[in-house]
């Protein structure tokens, strides 16, 4: 156990080493692309450089995690616990996958602007700040750094009106949500006199929740609800996922969602454990609405990209069920599900880039008919992704759902688990047709799938994700242990304060 004094500058630098390395590296990449940004080769160089930066940041993160760093005294500004490391690792994985998929994609789509990669790095740094925020100010700033970079990435295809529409919609809704979040932070500060999460938890415990804090909590939930695209704050998600360049949609569905969920869990469990009676019904309502609306609307989609967008709303509902539990098991389930969903969805969006051109907006179920005959590897990968999203036994998606169910059932709640299972069965109605179309329907033409293909880097990243989904789904015990241990430390630092 390494004790790190977060009051000293050196301690802060050590605690934030992964983020500092990543941001610093983003500056270096930005310098490099400022004088080399004309050719496809320059774009590739920026991409590979970014991967190196992600690797450095991941190494620093691993060092902190393995070293078991913990705060000396009260955690300030930034958390030092395995829950943060786990969420940050998911964000880094999502970013690395996005970069690998983008390397070939940007060239194919003629998006030669290497500024893409520094923006991905900055967005990832924002995600890591958000996931590790121990203070509402850091939480807000991390969210904004992440969001600003992702707004731009969504509109990166400047010649495509749908991409611009996605960026504008995301920006306007995001700014609107930030307003709610900021107002909520202000009210919570007014009620508790601090923005530090564990001190808020201590201030609010042992007395009835003041009206101002309750209002602030509600506004915080609304602000976070937009970012995790929970129903009824989901209206932007389908259009934004649909219009953005596909690797960016993948980053939004995985990294952005992972960081926002990690922050939501931390806020609810560290700052508002005493208000559990207040937020549990709200989270339950959000979860029920997201699961039903997300799955039912996904059933009606013809385009694969839109289907994945609506399914992402449904999965946010599943994770909210785990958040509802408000226990360490629930937090561990969120973390595990974020990894399962992240790996699978990134691979699914990556495979989608192989199927279409110009944003992949028009790839329908009919377009992939007979793909298994022409491109067996891609079809197999997509089939595994669909099964994992469905929660089929033997995949990581199943382990994730099972872990959520066990966490919630342990709290004696029955309605949410039953709804989760029922809506998962419903989701078979749109995941399985993908597999049926690929394997059971004849190809419309002999060379229909001739253009389907992936760049070697994207293929490598997707293959690694798919293999991980299957292997971790078959032998999950190690992963379960890590997720459980990560969640157990979540409120360790806060609990002693909550006493008298």
């Amino acid at each position: 156990m390494n004790r790190i004094d977060l009051a000293s500058p050196v301690g802060v630098a050590i605690a934030l080493l992964p983020e500092i390395l990543l941001t610093g590296w983003a500056l270096i990449v930005l310098l490099v692309v400022s004088w080399r940004h004309r050719t496809a080769q320059d774009s590739r160089l920026a991409g590979w450089l970014s991967l190196v930066g992600l690797l450095f940041s991941g190494a620093a993160l691993a060092a902190l995690w393995v070293g078991g760093a913990s705060p000396d005294g009260l955690p300030q500004m930034v958390a030092l616990d395995p829950f943060r490391y786990g969420a940050a690792a998911i964000a880094l994985l999502a970013a690395a996958g996005t970069v690998l998929i983008s390397l070939g994609y940007l060239e194919r789509e003629g998006l030669i602007a290497p500024e893409y990669y520094p923006l991905v790095l900055l967005a990832t740094a924002g995600m890591m700040f958000l996931a590790g925020a121990e203070d509402l100010i850091v939480l807000f700033l991390g969210l904004e750094v992440m969001s600003v970079a992702v707004y731009v990435l969504a509109g990166f295809d400047r010649t495509d009106p749908f991409s611009s529409e996605a960026a504008l919609k995301y920006f306007l809704i995001g700014a609107f949500a930030s307003g709610f979040l900021l107002y909520g932070i202000a009210l919570v500060y007014g009620a508790a006199g601090t923005t530090n999460l564990s001190i808020i938890g201590a201030q609010l415990s042992g007395r009835p929740i003041p009206m101002m804090a309750a209002l602030g909590l509600g506004l915080l939930l609304i602000g976070m609800g937009f970012k995790i695209s929970a129903v009824p704050f989901h209206m932007w998600a389908p259009d934004v996922y649909d219009g953005s360049p596909t690797p960016v949609s993948g980053l939004m569905a995985t990294g952005v969602k992972a960081a926002a969920f990690a922050a939501l869990v931390r806020v609810l469990m560290e700052a508002f454990p005493s208000a559990v009676g207040l937020w549990q019904p709200v989270v339950a309502a959000l979860a029920i609405a997201s699961m039903t609306v997300g799955n039912l609307t996904a059933l009606a989609q013809r385009s694969l990209k839109r289907m994945l967008a609506y399914s992402s709303i449904a999965h946010a509902g599943y994770m909210l069920v785990a958040v509802w539990a408000g226990t360490h098991a629930g937090a561990g389930a969120v973390l595990l599900y974020l990894l399962a969903y992240g790996l699978t969805t990134l691979a699914a969006f990556g495979l989608l880039t192989a199927l279409g051109r110009g944003g992949e907006r028009d790839v329908t179920y009919d377009d992939i008919a007979g793909l298994a005959g022409a491109r067996p590897a891609i079809a197999l990968g997509l089939a595994v992704c669909m099964l994992s999203l469905l929660g089929f036994p033997g995949t990581l998606g199943f382990i994730g759902k099972w872990y959520i169910l066990s966490a919630v059932v342990a709290e004696g709640q029955m309605i949410l688990p039953v709804l989760l299972v029922l809506t998962s069965v419903l989701s078979a109605g749109y995941y399985l047709p993908v597999i049926m179309s690929m394997y059971m329907r004849p190809s419309p033409g002999a060379d229909r799938h001739a253009a389907v293909g992936l760049s070697p880097t994207a293929a490598g990243a997707i293959a690694a994700s798919v293999v991980a989904v299957v292997l971790l789904g078959l032998w999950p015990s190690g992963l379960l242990e890590v997720a459980g241990a990560s969640a157990r430390t979540l409120t360790q630092t806060a609990l002693p304060l909550a006493g008298p």
């Binding site: 941001t23 500004m77 923006l119 100010i137 850091v138 991390g142 904004e144 600003v148 400047r158 960026a167």
Partner: protein, 185 residues
């Protein structure tokens, strides 16, 4: 001595402000304005308002000017100048100048004695020390360290991390604005 310093900076402020208005290129006008802001900051220091001076440099000479420069660069203004000699422009000029003149005449009637009596009669604002527990702390800090110290210590010690993240946020916003708005990357 102090008076001499004042006159130097005041002269610089007046000259650069005039150059800002007179220069025909938007880019050099912005740069002249930066010089004006900096000399105004020096005048604030002479009034022993160090904090306002620092904020003047940070916010006006720094952030706002960078913003202006980016807008000018992104708009690709070039040599285009609009003709401001029409009757409409003349009418606007007369109206604005007239308003300013009225203000000036209103100020004429103000003597230091009248100003002092008005300030004395103004309703007292609430004392921050009675409103917040932190208000008294802030006042003590300001007495012991000066206004700048009272602001700088929390900003660079307690809130160092958010302060630095803000710079990352601004960088991301700048890169994003250039990527989206520049005509040819």
């Amino acid at each position: 001595m102090l008076e001499a310093v004042f006159y130097v900076f005041a002269a610089v402020a007046v000259v650069t402000a005039s150059m800002c208005i007179l220069s025909r290129s938007a880019m050099s006008a912005v740069l002249w304005l930066t010089a004006t802001m900096l000399s105004l900051a020096a005048l604030y220091v002479l009034l022993s308002a160090e904090f306002i001076a620092a904020i003047q440099v940070l916010v006006y000479a720094g952030a706002v000017m960078v913003l202006f420069l980016f807008v000018v660069m992104l708009l690709n203004l070039g040599q285009a100048t609009t003709d401001m000699r029409g009757p409409a422009a003349l009418a606007t000029t007369i109206v604005i100048a007239g308003l300013l003149a009225i203000q000036l005449f209103a100020l004429w009637s103000y003597t230091p004695a009248r100003l002092a009596s008005e300030v004395a009669q103004a309703p007292q604002l609430s004392d921050p020390a009675t409103l917040f527990a932190a208000g008294q702390i802030a006042r003590d800090e300001a007495v012991s360290r000066g206004v700048v110290g009272a602001v700088a210590v929390p900003l660079f010690q307690v809130y160092l991390v958010p302060f630095e993240i803000t710079s990352v946020l601004l960088l991301a916003a700048i890169v994003g604005a250039v990527v989206l708005a520049k005509r040819r990357l």
